[in-house]
């Protein structure tokens, strides 16, 4: 048997013929990446200046961030291409190993960073180690890798359980997944103190469970557990309590309140943008007023630079990309593949919603990147890889009429499946 035959044998996916992928995914992703690059180009010099002043050095050149972001984008594109060509079966069938690798990376970080304090290969601040330092190759955030691993594993696992009709089985499905999720939370939120990544992980897991057909009463129970855990995590960390109280004081928070500094400046940045923005290179908030201007706060800087029109355009691009992912998911030939795409959707959506909500003052700050736009390599590479996987899977979409109704038994609440309204032209080459 050839390798591909063996893979096909092991896979019980009966997928349709491979066709042209959904280029819209690549288009929206590319546009967002380009926008991010433009902003890096515009505010990079100011950011470099702030850092040079802060550390009394001239290490950061005016194109430092632009070049780093270009390199990240290049790596991300490579990840996208690789993920879109490496056969998905290879990934799904090794989901367990990928997940274990993710956990090993986290354990290694814990070991070298928190326990051995090897500063040469780990980056820690305030007792939280989140990064491996790879010297000239930049840095790697194991949590992002773990997130990817959880996504693949959950899709694979839930796909199998859905096929078995055991999605709502407590001991077969919910508890094992709960253990994996809990373990991931232990590393990400408790050890690495990264609330944002943890929340986004839980968010896409929830969306996957939901789409796998989880019963609403289970859903409510899980939601209750998550809320309780969330409150616990907030209460054990004073800075998180500050963020929540700041959020609760709403637009009345002022500059005098140190805790409100970040969110107040995000609002000032967005507010001063007005309808059309102050223009590229004219951002004042990026000159040191707004913390994390190039990372987590990039949405606010874009609001200042491009105004209401620009932000609506950016949100529209994200919405288009997310809707596209949702539609691709809806046309996947089986639950397992659908859940992969849904996971990607959930991941992206969680980041966008959590980040934007914080910036506009609708949710407390969690410290989460805006995918494809924020400065930062690991997050970019893994989100691009995830999108690449979805892009690969978009080759296998099928028309609604061909979807197997039994696969939807749980998720459709028995209402059956009707054909797609549109039957667009399918080009076969």
């Amino acid at each position: 048997m050839t390798r591909s035959q063996r893979l096909a044998e092991r896979s019980d996916d009966a997928v349709g013929r491979r066709h042209r992928p959904d280029y819209q995914i690549a288009l929206y992703m590319g546009l967002l990446m380009l926008l991010g690059l433009v902003v890096m180009y515009a505010i990079g010099p100011q950011r470099a200046n702030v850092l040079n002043n802060a550390y009394d050095t001239d290490f950061y050149g005016s194109t430092y961030f632009f070049i780093k972001q270009t390199m990240s984008l290049f790596l991300a594109l490579v990840a996208f291409v690789v993920a879109s060509f490496v056969p998905y079966r290879l990934l799904l069938n090794n989901a367990g190993k990928i997940l274990v690798a993710g956990f090993i990376a986290c354990v290694a970080l814990l070991f070298f960073g928190n326990i051995l304090h090897v500063d040469a290969i780990t980056q820690c601040s305030l007792g939280a180690c989140r990064w491996f330092d790879l010297g000239p190759f930049g840095s790697l955030q194991p949590a992002e890798f773990l997130k990817f691993g959880v996504l693949i594993f959950a899709a694979s696992f839930l796909g199998m359980r859905a096929k078995q009709g055991l999605i709502n089985d407590k001991s077969q499905t919910l508890i094992p997944l709960g253990v994996v999720a809990g373990l991931a939370m232990l590393f990400v939120i408790v050890i690495q103190k990264d609330m944002g990544t943890g929340v986004s992980l839980m968010a896409f897991l929830s969306v996957m469970l939901y789409m796998a057909g989880l019963k609403y009463r289970w859903g409510l129970l899980i939601a209750g557990i998550l809320v309780a855990a969330g409150i616990l995590f907030i209460l054990i960390a004073p800075h998180r309590i500050d963020r929540v109280t700041t959020f609760l004081s709403g637009d009345a928070s002022t500059l005098d309140d140190a805790g409100a500094y970040h969110i107040t400046h995000a609002k000032i940045a967005i507010g001063t943008g007005g309808l059309a923005g102050v223009g590229i290179g004219n951002s004042v908030q990026a000159t040191g007023y707004l913390p994390e201007a190039i990372n987590d706060s990039v949405f606010a800087i874009m609001g200042e630079t491009f105004g209401f029109v620009g932000l609506v355009a950016i949100l529209s691009l994200f919405t288009a990309l997310l809707m596209r992912l949702l539609k691709v998911a809806d046309h996947m030939p089986n639950v397992r593949l659908r859940l992969v795409v849904i996971g990607v959707f959930g991941w992206l959506a969680a980041h966008v919603i959590l980040n934007v909500s914080a910036m506009v003052g609708l949710l407390p700050l969690t410290g989460i990147t805006l995918p494809l736009l924020s400065f930062g390599g690991t997050s970019m590479v893994f989100i691009a890889a995830a999108l690449g996987l979805a892009f690969q899977l978009s080759r296998y979409t099928v028309f609604g009429s061909k979807l197997k109704s039994d696969e939807y038994k749980d998720s459709q609440r028995g209402r059956g499946v009707r054909g797609a309204r549109n039957t667009g032209r399918r080009r076969t080459t």
Partner: protein, 579 residues
């Protein structure tokens, strides 16, 4: 492939949720960016736009030195050393460094100041030089900083201290030129209002930037000659010391244009150390701001008035009884024995009060100082000689003095008889010296001035505006006559004091002082008022000496100082002897 969501699928619910959230975001953005836009712009500007004052340089003050400009007051940047005790991490090292470099500039108990962790700002030392500041900066001490402070420096030390005044710690001129011309000296601070980054560095972003450059203060050039001033101060100080007088003042003027060549006072101080002065009286320039009864110097003005009105000539005679009755008072001479029929020149030489009262009587009906006589005297003294009027000198604190007009009850014959020999009115030395210039220069009153002009930043000299000139205080013929009379008055007794070949004249004055409204006998002020020159008078010198409880005589205590300065000036000004 065109895809749409499966009807009734959970993905439709997800899509709905997503679109709802995005719609909420857009509504929120609309609120923040469109509705609340102005409010956030206001908040941003309140934080980002910082005015940066560009301090204007205070003008320097120059004097002449044989026609060249020399600085009397300049600026120097010094540094105030301060600490933020909270930020200071290594206070042992910080203390060691600043003690080594600037030990003498530190405030007492520096270590205690540095230990006050409850404060964020402590001044540790003042007036550090640039070099000291740089040495300390090189150590990169955390929490230690510097503030630039502009400070006045005085290359000539205490020279012309009362004329210059000083600049207080708030940057405001006090006394002298510094106070009188404060606004010109200060200039206008520039304003740079710009959007700044978080550490206050101005950015080129935005259209609300204001850039108003600073306009430095004028560099003032005084009419003072450094050498004349220095000699006057030396002559006054040593003269007073030799003669045992406590206080004294000198003014030297150019009678041909009203320029003040020197003004000196004893006791004096050094403006650099103005904070160490215990008695603020030394700040006062007594030449302009302490009116006194000028005494016999005024006799020259009385004679000039009589001659100008044609009621006397130098050779006119009167019968001197050493006393003369005016209304119910009897006025006596200080110097007695020259009784009999004598000339007016004789009366002036011996400074006889009776002669002066006679002149006043002759301005009236010959026997009485009538209202007409008093009006004439007031016209000359107040309107022409400008006694009792501010001269407008460009110095702070000039006093007007007092001269009582005949329209008032107090302006009666007795007062006017006293005024003929310099009593019953208060004048400043500047008023007397300025009017005296017009007596000897042909009858032109030049408004006295101490400002020659200013020097622009590029070094160009701009002459000061022409001061006011009041012609014909007396007729030229009268001036010639009184000029000669004053020379004779000096030569009658003191001719051999002077460098021969020059035209020098002067009049002594010994004024009684008034305490509690009564003339007292144990304290008199000595003055000498005279001129010197060749074909025309080149300088007018007035000297005053006084002291608490001291009986000082014009001829004994003021005249020698005049003579000293006069003889020196002839050399210094390289005057050619009269042909």
């Amino acid at each position: 492939m065109e895809l749409s969501l499966q009807k009734g699928s959970r993905s439709r619910i997800l899509a709905g949720l997503l679109l709802l959230v995005i719609a909420i975001f857009i509504a929120r953005l609309f609120y923040l960016q469109i509705i609340q836009h102005d409010e956030y712009v206001r908040q941003a500007e309140a934080e980002q736009i910082r005015p940066l004052i560009i301090p204007a340089k205070r003008g320097e003050i120059y004097a002449y030195d044989s026609g060249n400009l020399v600085p009397l007051v300049m600026n120097q940047t010094v540094y105030t050393l301060f600490a933020d005790p909270v930020m200071v991490t290594d206070s042992t090292k910080a203390l060691k460094v600043i003690r080594e470099v600037a030990g003498g500039n530190l405030r007492p108990k520096t270590e205690d100041l540095l230990a006050r962790k409850d404060t964020r700002y402590q001044i540790l030392g003042t007036k550090l030089t640039r070099k000291q500041a740089e040495l300390i900066k090189k150590e990169s001490l955390l929490g230690i900083g510097f503030q630039e402070v502009a400070q006045r420096i005085y290359p000539e030390g205490g020279l012309a201290a009362q004329t210059l005044g000083f600049v207080n710690d708030g940057g405001t001129g006090q006394y002298g030129v510094e106070e009188a011309l404060n606004e010109r000296l200060v200039g206008h601070d520039g304003l740079l209002e710009s959007v700044t980054d978080v550490s206050g560095v101005p950015l080129t972003i935005g259209d609300k930037n204001v850039n108003k450059p600073a306009k430095n203060g004028d560099n003032i050039v005084l009419t003072i000659d450094r050498n004349v001033q220095a000699y006057a101060e030396k002559a006054l100080a040593s003269g007073l010391k030799k003669l045992g007088a406590q206080n004294g003042s000198v003014i030297i003027m150019d009678p041909q244009n009203g320029d003040i060549m020197a003004m000196a006072n004893v006791p004096t101080y050094n403006p650099k150390d103005f904070t160490k002065v215990k008695d603020a009286a030394v700040f006062n320039n007594n030449v302009i701001n302490s009116p006194y009864e000028p005494g016999s110097d005024i006799k020259t003005f009385t004679i000039a008035t009589g001659i100008d009105k044609g009621v006397i000539k130098p050779t006119s005679t009167y019968n001197n009884l050493d006393y003369i009755k005016v209304a119910d008072r009897t006025i006596v001479n200080a110097f007695k024995g020259e009784t009999g029929v004598i000339t007016m020149q004789h009366a002036l030489n011996y400074s006889l009060n009776t002669g002066m009262v006679t002149v006043a009587q002759r301005l009236g009906d010959g026997n009485r100082i009538t209202r007409g006589a008093r009006d004439t005297m007031y016209n000359y003294f107040h309107d022409r000689f400008r006694f009792g009027q501010l001269t407008g000198i460009e110095l702070a604190g000039e006093q007007r003095g007092t001269i009582i007009p005949p329209t008032e009850v107090e302006g009666n014959a007795v007062r006017y008889s006293n005024m003929t020999f310099g009593q019953g009115m208060d004048l400043t030395m500047l008023q007397v010296a300025s009017a005296f210039c017009s007596l000897v220069n042909g009858g032109t009153y030049y408004q006295p001035t101490i400002i020659a002009g200013n020097v622009s930043d590029s070094g160009e000299f701009v002459e000061a505006e022409q001061k006011r000139v009041y012609p014909n205080t007396i007729q030229p013929e009268t001036s010639k006559t009184i000029h000669t009379m004053i020379r004779k008055a000096r030569q009658a007794f003191y001719a051999d004091y002077d460098t021969p070949g020059y035209d020098i004249g002067g009049k002594t004055g010994t004024s009684q002082t008034i305490r509690n409204g009564k003339y007292i006998d144990d304290e008199t002020i000595a003055t000498y008022l005279g001129y010197g020159g060749n074909s025309k008078p080149r300088y007018v010198i007035m000297v005053e000496a006084s002291g608490k409880g001291q009986n000082l005589q014009g001829n004994l205590h003021a005249l020698p100082i005049f003579t000293d300065i006069s003889n020196w000036l002839i050399d210094y000004l390289k005057l050619q002897p009269k042909g």
